[in-house]
Structure formats: structure tokens, C-alpha cells
């Protein structure tokens, strides 16, 4: 028998000199490379020749809803059961069906991760919504992440559409430079996801992004600046959505959020570095934001109405006993200059019972319990 002793020895020796077919962690290729596209098994009819597109961007927290993972620092979760993931995704699907987007940008979606019970979330959303096509932009592809027992990771961003996605590619973003070699090997490699969608005979380029959250070396700022350069250089109409991990330029509160611990519990790796809201200003100045800066207002109450993020859920309390609630804006939608959003439709979908802009639609789903991010939504007028 290959004894257990030898098995352990193999593990020790082998991990150092592995020759298996699959690498420890896959580096995202530099530059631009094609991204995989998926199609629903059953295609649902899409509105022909629409005047506008219903657009939504949402960080779905890999189907974890409000389960407190260890890097949230409010819990110790590392893994979910399949039943938990399916229940959480059912809530996400209900919200997506209610919003009925024509184009959906999703961040933190997983194709095959141990922590989300290997659920193929791209296929799940295609099978359970009216969205017909998807492009998946893999950003974290590790065979086994030896941190807290996290294990296999296949996470990325995705663009879903009712209309055919005829091309998709990933544009590599800068990696962090403030990590040791081992951590960097197993860490996320951010990218800009780009898909070309054929809306009737009108090609529309859609982008999805999710920039760095915890760097101390300016990586996030460099990534945001690259996003601005890429979309600015894009010809034809385009849409950009995602989690920028950055505050709007007029944010009144820039630190000491209610979901941050006062005493470090889970190490320095997940401490929030200072925000740099000015880096978002060119997006509002040069492009068509779904919500103009003026609408963010200059009072805490006005800005709170457009918050999109809270690490702490409503059923948990911080060290001062305050329940979690949306406390900052990190998620945005933009469109190419010269195009317009219907201001009566654009909003942040924050909580059940909320009237969505001036549409007459009252939100039934409760985004506060479905993810640590709220969806951003609006109808974009096709040029």
C-alpha cells in the first residue's frame, strides 16, 4: 500500500515540485485575450428594435448573500453548502427577474469554486432568467488557495444580455505590487470585461469592471484610470458598469464607516485603505453617468439614498450595536458621451418597498439581504 505516511510525504514534496496538468494558480494573460461566451439552453424572446435598454450592474458576492465570510471580519465563513448557494441565488434571480434587465453586468460571479459548492452561476442565471447570452471574464483562477481552507477558486465578472453577444474579451489590469510572492501567486488578477452585443442591427459594447479593494500601492487608482482610457477609446455606443471600490467625487463621508471594525480582528490584509474619490471625477465629467453628480446631493441623507455597499448585513450589528445598512457608494453605470439615460428610471435598488425612481415600480425583492452590494439600474436610450 502507498502508506498514509508516504501520502503525506508526497504532499509535502509534491506541492513543492508539482508536475500535474493543472497549475497551482493560473495567471490571467497580459494584454487582451478572448473570453468564453455562453448561451442559454432555451432562448427567450427579446424585445425587437427597442428604443432603450434596461441596464443593471450588481456585485452578487458569489451567491453568499449576507453570510459573513472571514475576510468580512464579522464572521468566520469559508464555505457554503449547495443548498445555501441555491437559496441565495434564488433571491438574486427573483430580483433580476423583477428588474428584467436587457443587459446585466455582474461582479463576483463564480463558475466553479469550492466556497460556493461548485455551482455554475453563469448557467444558473441563464437558466432562470430571461437573459439569453453571457460572457465570463475570469479574474481568480486558483486550484487550491491555502488560506483558511478556501480551496479551489474560479471567480470573475460577467455580462449577460437578452441580445446576442457576438464577441467578448478580457483586458488585463495592473496587479498589486504590495504582496509577497506566495500571496500574489494565489491572488486575483483583475481585468476589464468587454462584450459586443448586437441589439437589432446596432452593435453596443458593454464593459464590466471590478477594481481592487485592499491595495496600498495605488493599484486601484491605476486600474480606474485604465478603465477610463479604454472606454474613452471605444468607438460606437458603449455601456460600463461595475464595482469600482471607490467613492463618488462628492462623497461627504470618506472614512470610519459603520461596517468597519475599530479593533482589527482578521489581520491587516482586509483593512480598508483610504479612498481617493477624485479618481472618479473624470467618469462623471467625460461620460454619461446613470445618475448625475448633482443628484448625489450635498447632505448625508441625500447621499445615503444612493449608497450601494455595506459589509455588515441588516441582521448583524457592529461593535457599537448598530445594525448594518448601506453606507457608501461604490457601484456605477456609465455610458458613452453623447448618449443619455432616462433620469426617471435610474436608481440604486436598495431595499424592499422602495419606489424605483419615478417608474411606479415598487421593489419587492430586498437587495439588502441578497448581497453586500446593491444593484445600480437605469434605462439607457439607444442612440
Amino acid at each position: 500500500m502507498v502508506s498514509v505516511c508516504r501520502l503525506i510525504c508526497c504532499a509535502g514534496l509534491g506541492l513543492a515540485s508539482l508536475t500535474g496538468c493543472e497549475p497551482l494558480a493560473r495567471a490571467v494573460p497580459r494584454g487582451t485575450h478572448a473570453a468564453p461566451r455562453f448561451k442559454a439552453a432555451t432562448l427567450m424572446p427579446a424585445p425587437p428594435d427597442p428604443d432603450g435598454l434596461r441596464v443593471m450592474a450588481w456585485n452578487i458576492k458569489y451567491g453568499a448573500a449576507r453570510l459573513p465570510f472571514w475576510f468580512d471580519c464579522w464572521g468566520d465563513r469559508v464555505q457554503m453548502t449547495r443548498a445555501e448557494v441555491e437559496a441565495n441565488l434564488a433571491g438574486a434571480v427573483a430580483l433580476i427577474r423583477e428588474a428584467d434587465p436587457d443587459v446585466l453586468m455582474v461582479e463576483e460571479i463564480e463558475l466553479n469554486s469550492r466556497r460556493s459548492a461548485y455551482v455554475d452561476m453563469v448557467r444558473h442565471l441563464l437558466a432562470n432568467t430571461d437573459l439569453n447570452y453571457a460572457a465570463y471574464f475570469r479574474t481568480w483562477d486558483s486550484r487550491y488557495i491555502p488560506s483558511e481552507g478556501l480551496g479551489r477558486m474560479d471567480l470573475g465578472n460577467a455580462i449577460f444580455s437578452k441580445y446576442p453577444i457576438v464577441a467578448a474579451d478580457s483586458i488585463a489590469q495592473a496587479d498589486r505590487t504590495d504582496q509577497d510572492l506566495v500571496t500574489a501567486t494565489f491572488y486575483i488578477h483583475r481585468s476589464i470585461g468587454r462584450a459586443v452585443i448586437e441589439v437589432g442591427d446596432q452593435p453596443v459594447t458593454a464593459f464590466v469592471v471590478h477594481t481592487e479593494a485592499y491595495d496600498e500601492d495605488g493599484t486601484k487608482q491605476a486600474q480606474i484610470e485604465q478603465i477610463h482610457e479604454v472606454v474613452q477609446a471605444t468607438e460606437g455606443p458603449w455601456l460600463l458598469g461595475g464595482d469600482f471600490n471607490e467613492l463618488p467625487p462628492t462623497a461627504l463621508k470618506t472614512q470610519d464607516f459603520l461596517d468597519e471594525r475599530t479593533e482589527p480582528v482578521c489581520g491587516e490584509d482586509f483593512e480598508q485603505p483610504p479612498y481617493t474619490p477624485a479618481v472618479m471625477a473624470p467618469f462623471f465629467a467625460d461620460f454619461a453617468p446613470w445618475i448625475e453628480l448633482a443628484r448625489f446631493g450635498d447632505t448625508p441623507a441625500a447621499q445615503a439614498r444612493l449608497f450601494t455597499h455595506s459589509v455588515l448585513g441588516p441582521d448583524e450589528v457592529n461593535e457599537a450595536g448598530v445594525a448594518g445598512d448601506w453606507n457608501r457608494t461604490l457601484d456605477y453605470l456609465f455610458a458613452s458621451p453623447g448618449t443619455a439615460w432616462d433620469p426617471a428610471t435610474t436608481d440604486v435598488l436598495q431595499r424592499a418597498g422602495q419606489p424605483v425612481a419615478q417608474t411606479g415600480w415598487v421593489l419587492e425583492a430586498d437587495p439588502l439581504r441578497l448581497s453586500d452590494h446593491a444593484p445600480v439600474f437605469g434605462v439607457w436610450r439607444l442612440p
Binding site: 500500500m1 502507498v2 502508506s3 498514509v4 505516511c5 508516504r6 501520502l7 503525506i8 510525504c9 508526497c10 504532499a11 509535502g12 514534496l13 509534491g14 506541492l15 515540485s17 508539482l18 508536475t19 500535474g20 496538468c21 493543472e22 468564453p36 461566451r37 455562453f38 448561451k39 453570510l67 459573513p68 472571514w70 471580519c73 464579522w74 464572521g75 468566520d76 465563513r77 469559508v78 464555505q79 449547495r82 463558475l111 466553479n112 469550492r114 459548492a117 461548485y118 455554475d120 448557467r123 486550484r143 487550491y144 491555502p146 488560506s147 483558511e148 481552507g149 480551496g151 479551489r152 474560479d154 480582528v265 482578521c266 489581520g267 441582521d315 448583524e316
Partner: protein, 287 residues
């Protein structure tokens, strides 16, 4: 990496000072070393013959990460087809949860299992940490070897993880050697059958080949079956010292996928098994 294989093979195949070394008792067989003798390697276990029929086994390095001990008891010898045979009963006991409960240097908590930093604050939180409970894993098996120089060994064993406290942790879903080592804890049980053949090609060179099949309890979505194959050589340099080298291959389900063409430029997810090849290289002392 191919250069490494050839290098190891060349090292093992070289004749030299070992030419005068006496024939060595075959490892991993039902033939046990005489009372008072023993062997130990860096990666091979410590074996100590209590009597001619009882041998204790433990791995010095792994012992502190996963305390364990094994006992081989030779229960019968005989002759079949003009060749001698021996049979041993094998018993073992391990504490597989040790490595998941303690941090470095005695375990891998924080790497293979949660640190439970929030739980340790004592705050009342709805979600609790999935810390591995304490468990022991007794094992029982048998080994039958036919022949003394050209050997054929068949063996099998079963290990069962008995939870003493707390919860059974989730499957690690990782590299096969590690996965199998903690399987009695994570998957309730681990069964194994194997066949090994070993031949003394020269007094200074033994060749061995082995195929093993493992089955663990049904936990999670991954296949419970693992297959492995091993090819190796022993190269005795002196009567009390040998080099061993080889290559081991594992085929297991570690949750890997491929994206395969689905027509029209689209793809779909297809689950695939993982193949891993590791070198095995060790120095072995006997007395």
C-alpha cells in the same frame, strides 16, 4: 522537469559502491524485518521490529502534524507454487484532526482550515466557525506477499474516522495525497486495495511498481474514487543506507472543469478529473 526524471533515473541506475551491499529485505511487503532491526527515512516511515512477527510503524515528521502509529503482525507463512508467502494483519490509529486544529509548526490551521478569528473574540454572532472536531481514525487491513526476491504483494485496509467532539469538517477537495490522508475525518472512512510487485534486478538495485485504488465516504459533489500508480527504485549504497526514488501518479476528482465548445462559438462547463505526478526521492537508513 523531464530532465529531473532522467537525472533521478540515471542516479538510480548507476553501479558503484553499492555493488557490495547485501540483499535488503523488501519494503512494503508482508515480510517483516527480524526483531530489533529497523529503518527510517526522511519521507519513509520509521519501522521498528518489536519481534520477528511484530513491527511498529510511525512517521517522525508527520507524527507531530497528524499523530499516528501502525502495527504489522505477521500471522502466517507458507509456500505456493514453489515460492514462499507471508501474510500480515495491519492495525493503525491516527488523529487526523490534529493538523486542522493547530497552527504552525504542528498543524496547518489558517491554511487548510479556518482560524476562527471572529469566533475567538467571544462576540455573539449568528454564524459560527466550522472548526474541525477532535477525531481518531482506527484502521485495519491485511497484506499478503508471494515470493522473496521477486515479490507480488496484495493488500487492503479500511480506516474509519470516529468523531469525539465538535463537527466533522468539510472535504478539503485538494491534492489527492492530502485529501486521502484526512479522508477518515472529512469523509467518514477511507478504503484501499493495492497490488505491488518488486524485483531485485541487481544486488544494488530493486525495481518496484504499484497500483492502488481508494474509495472514501460520499461527501459533497466530487467523486469518491482515487487511483494511483507508482514506479520506483531502491539503490543501496551501503549495507545500512540506500537512496530511493520514483514517480507517483494520482487520478482524482478535485473539482476541476474544462470549458468545451458548445457550437456557434459558445462554450459549456464540463467536469474533469485531475492527474498529478510527483517525484518521490528519499534516503533510507536501516539497522
Amino acid at each position: 522537469m523531464r530532465g529531473l526524471w532522467w537525472g533521478l533515473w540515471a542516479l538510480a541506475a548507476l553501479p558503484g559502491v553499492a555493488g557490495a551491499a547485501p540483499a535488503r529485505p523488501p519494503r512494503e511487503s508482508a515480510w517483516l524485518a527480524p526483531a530489533g532491526s529497523g529503518s527510517v527515512g526522511v519521507f519513509n516511515p520509521l519501522r521498528w521490529a518489536l519481534t520477528d512477527a511484530l513491527t511498529l510503524e510511525a512517521h517522525p515528521l508527520a507524527f507531530f502534524a497528524a499523530p499516528h502509529v501502525g502495527l504489522d503482525w505477521q500471522v502466517a507463512q507458507g509456500e505456493l507454487g514453489g515460492r514462499a508467502w507471508a501474510a500480515t494483519a495491519r492495525f493503525g490509529l491516527s488523529v487526523p484532526s490534529w493538523a486542522l486544529r493547530f497552527g504552525l509548526p504542528f498543524g496547518a490551521r489558517g491554511y487548510l482550515s479556518p482560524t476562527c478569528a471572529v469566533a475567538d473574540t467571544g462576540e455573539a454572532r449568528a454564524d459560527t466557525c466550522a472548526e474541525a472536531g477532535w477525531a481518531i481514525a482506527p484502521s485495519v487491513g491485511g497484506r499478503w506477499t508471494w515470493g522473496r526476491e521477486g515479490l507480488l504483494t496484495v493488500d487492503g485496509d479500511l480506516a474509519v474516522g470516529l468523531l469525539l467532539t465538535g463537527e466533522r469538517p468539510a472535504s478539503l477537495d485538494t491534492y489527492a495525497p492530502l485529501q486521502l490522508a484526512v479522508a477518515p475525518l472529512t469523509h467518514t472512512w477511507r478504503a484501499h486495495v493495492g497490488v505491488r510487485t518488486e524485483h531485485a534486478v541487481r544486488p544494488w538495485l530493486r525495481l518496484a511498481a504499484e497500483v492502488d485504488l481508494y474509495r472514501v465516504g460520499d461527501v459533497g459533489p466530487l467523486s469518491p474514487w482515487t487511483v494511483s500508480g507508482w514506479l520506483g527504485v531502491d539503490w543501496p549504497l551501503t549495507p545500512g543506507f540506500a537512496l530511493t526514488s520514483g514517480v507517483i501518479w494520482f487520478n482524482s476528482d478535485q473539482g476541476a472543469i474544462d470549458l468545451v465548445a458548445d457550437g456557434g462559438g459558445f462554450v459549456r462547463v464540463e467536469r474533469v478529473r485531475s492527474n498529478d505526478v510527483y517525484p518521490t526521492l528519499d534516503a533510507l537508513w536501516t539497522w
